[in-house]
């Protein structure tokens, strides 16, 4: 049996969205920490909030692209069921899992950014 080369790719795509989420968290956290420790004037979170907003926009866009990819993978072969152990079934299942993880990661990115939306001070 010849293995579909895409199958290997899609395993990587499975962790793409959660990876973006974790990078978004890390960047936001480090930016806020460095900002407050070294750069802030009068303990205002100002610049760090702008940075977090930018990270969030980039992360949501990237996660959107991953979601789109997952959706396509899932819908590609709708003739086949996605819960049987065949190559097609696996493709569809992975596509669906990628889509769901992208949804979860998008919500997580928003939650990670919300503090910067509400809190204006380093205190």
């Amino acid at each position: 049996m010849v293995k579909s080369p895409r199958l290997r790719d899609s395993l990587w795509m499975l962790i793409a969205a959660p990876t973006i989420w974790s990078l978004h968290f890390l960047f936001s956290y480090v930016t806020a920490a460095v900002w407050c420790a070294k750069l802030a004037e009068g303990a205002s979170l100002g610049g760090a909030r702008t940075a977090v907003a930018m990270y969030s926009a980039a992360a949501i866009a990237a996660i959107g692209a991953v979601a789109h990819y997952g959706w396509r993978r899932h819908c590609q072969e709708t003739r086949h069921p996605h819960d049987v152990p065949t190559s097609h079934g696996r493709q569809r299942f992975l596509g669906f899992a990628i889509l769901l993880l992208a949804g979860l990661s998008a919500v997580a990115v928003v939650y990670g950014a919300l503090p910067a939306a509400f809190i204006a001070s380093c205190h």
Partner: protein, 328 residues
């Protein structure tokens, strides 16, 4: 007492309701912050009850009222709506509301009194700074004027502690090398209790403090008294205690303002006799307790950073106790 509890449910209810008041209850509120938190708690409890009834209702419906197959469409709608969309919306709302509360709970916009509290294993250093710039260092007790927003600045000298007066506000960590902030705005007078809420070593559970919320005039008078130097000993017994205090080296760790004792390692004792408790909220404040604290410090508080003076004679301990008690 002739209280008879008829059923186990009654017993549980009595315990639950009794647990809601007292000097250290987050539901028996006496401050702005605690009020917001209690409102949030009751709102969430009510919401959770409604959701629980809904879920159980659905289960009853599916197993008793209409067993058998349901349409795939309805099932999908329920799964996605109730399992994904609804929780996301509810959690987003709760998170936003919680974040919205934070700025005002942490930093009062109109605070005129600043109280700095430093957590140390296992006691509290407390500094009051009034709007006129005067400061005074006290310890192991917090007094606040009712109706006024006070900015509390929290620090730690050793490990992470947490400052929590459940009746007044939420809790905040005290982190070494950082200043964290909390706004306290008491809404009624009374006696409350605060405690360390982050495990900080062997005597963590013995690190508490009494809190008194007073009328503003009484508070101002009290704070003025705290600025005063220590009362000089007025009886032969307290005079002997004062001499012992210096002779035993207590003054190298403790300050008694107005005397040669100027140590800063331990709590300021200038007005120790007037505090509501002893040893960070663990003993009553009387001569016997002083004697016990000095003679068996490490029994009363394991690991304590003060040596026990068990070698002192009973009469010496009492003289020291009399002296400290006289420092009102």
């Amino acid at each position: 007492m002739a209280l008879r509890i008829a059923s186990p449910t009654g017993a549980v209810l009595v315990v639950l309701v009794a647990a809601c008041d007292g000097p250290q209850s987050a539901l028996d509120v006496a401050g702005d912050g605690a009020t917001r938190i209690a409102d949030l708690f009751w709102g969430m409890a009510a919401g959770a009850a409604v959701i629980w009834i809904g879920v159980v209702g659905l289960a009853v419906y599916a197993t008793r009222v209409r067993p058998g197959e349901h349409s795939g469409r309805t099932a999908k709608l329920l799964l996605i709506g109730g399992g994904v969309v609804f929780p996301t919306i509810v959690l987003t709302g709760l998170l936003s509301y919680g974040l919205l509360l934070i700025p005002e709970l942490r930093e009062p916009s109109d605070g005129r009194l600043i109280v700095s509290v430093t957590g140390e294993q296992w006691w509290w250093r407390v500094r009051y700074e009034t709007a006129d710039g005067r400061t005074v260092e006290l310890a192991n007790e917090l007094r606040l004027p009712v109706g006024e927003a006070v900015e509390v600045r929290l620090e730690s000298r050793d490990v992470i502690h947490a400052f929590w007066v459940p009746s007044l506000a939420g809790k905040i960590d005290m982190v070494p090398g950082r200043v964290t902030r909390l706004s306290l705005k008491p809404t009624r007078t009374g006696e409350f209790r605060g405690a360390c809420a982050e495990y900080c070593g062997e005597s963590h559970a013995l690190m508490a403090f009494p809190v008194a919320v007073m009328e503003p005039a009484a508070f101002a008078a009290w704070l003025e008294d705290q600025h005063a130097l220590a009362a000089p000993p007025s009886t032969p017994e307290t005079e002997r205690g004062a001499r012992l205090f210096m002779a035993m080296g207590c003054g190298s760790c403790h300050a008694v303002r107005g005397t040669a004792a100027a140590g800063t390692i331990g709590p300021d004792l200038t007005h120790i006799g007037g505090r509501a408790s002893l040893g960070a909220g663990i003993l009553v404040n009387d001569v016997d307790a002083f004697a016990r604290w000095i003679a068996e410090t490490d029994h009363v508080k394991p690991g304590v950073r003060m040596p026990a003076f068990g070698m002192l004679a009973e009469s010496d301990l009492r003289a020291l106790g009399q002296y400290l008690e006289s420092l009102q």
